[in-house]
Symmetry: C2
């Protein structure tokens, strides 16, 4: 049986929705289990989907011209992962979605998501709130890429989103703050040394 | 008398709105003339406003820790300029708005913008579309900062938004693609030389 508890809570935290509308919304979501490292490739426009993470972790990433892998977004439990630019522009996705940990997911096609906005008016509010959060997230990342150096970006990530640093492999962390794995290792070593010194001082 | 023609056209291009609702929306906008180089500083939360450019040009910018000036967004005629993160989070603005050319503007306070979403339901659709465009714009900039080098960023800007390169001073262009003015001068010289060679070849 599909587990809608987390998604229900997530929706209710964001909008006021009555039971009937909620039932309609949930009926468009399907559950799926995905394995670590799987790439959830968009196959043509209509198969593009948004995922909601019940358990596990997904990342959205793209490749630059030299094939360098850049992670744009990481979704843990109770978060959506969507290729929003493709959703908005109705163009093929530029980003791929990869499973980082074995995951239990719900998904909805972009087509159904848009259909829901027509038949359940309050779903438009959900979309607006979703867009707002995505905008703020991207704006903050844009600021960090233009104002902070590699080491500062790592420290900021550790402060704001420690789960990314603690739970995910170095490869993903490095590609999230757009540095090489070697640079990340150096920064982490310095960072740990500093923290150890601070702890020794305080004892 | 306030000139609402451009804003009316802009709104009608984005949403279906009846005359009465349009009248209500326009009644919350006021006109103002601003001089080149003026900083339109937000004075406290309630005085934060969105601008619509009838004539002229505005930029949104922020400063990094060393005081380096970074331009996040440039609005020419028929575009809005809003500190969206502040609008969304209701926190003090992180970005300032500066007048780049003598400008004829309309403005609305964030408070009134939100109030309009309550009394004119279709204004919510306008906001969603506005958010979508802002998201796509920021996402593309995020990709360009993480995948392109200085010279590639300049070429991309020249291709996608030539007005910024042609109409604005080097200082603003450099701060928009996050490079120094010296680097911009070098890139421009190379770029012009290449184009001249191409033209000579074609004659």
């Amino acid at each position: 049986m599909t587990n809608y508890t987390e998604l229900t809570n997530f929706i209710r935290r964001n909008i006021d929705i009555n039971d009937e509308d909620l039932k309609t919304v949930l009926s468009y979501f399907q559950s799926v289990q995905k394995h670590k490292n799987e790439i959830l490739l968009p196959k043509g426009k209509n198969s593009q989907v948004s995922y909601f993470v019940i358990k596990g972790c997904l990342r959205l990433f793209y490749l630059d011209e030299e094939g360098k892998d850049i992670t744009r977004y990481i979704a843990f439990e109770n978060q959506f992962a969507t290729e929003l630019v493709s959703f908005i522009t109705n163009q093929p996705a530029q980003e791929a979605i990869q499973v980082i940990e074995n995951s239990e997911l719900l998904y909805i096609t972009h087509e159904d998501f848009r259909h829901l906005m027509k038949i359940v008016p309050v779903w438009k509010d959900f979309y607006s709130i979703y867009l707002e959060k995505a905008y703020v997230n991207n704006a903050k990342r844009l600021i960090s890429f233009t104002t902070l150096n590699a080491s500062e970006r790592y420290k900021q990530l550790f402060k704001i989103n420690p789960d990314i640093v603690k739970r995910l492999p170095n490869k993903v962390v490095a590609s999230y703050i757009n540095i090489s794995q070697e640079t990340l290792s150096r920064i982490k070593a310095k960072f740990l040394l500093k923290n150890e010194k601070r702890e020794t001082k305080n004892t």
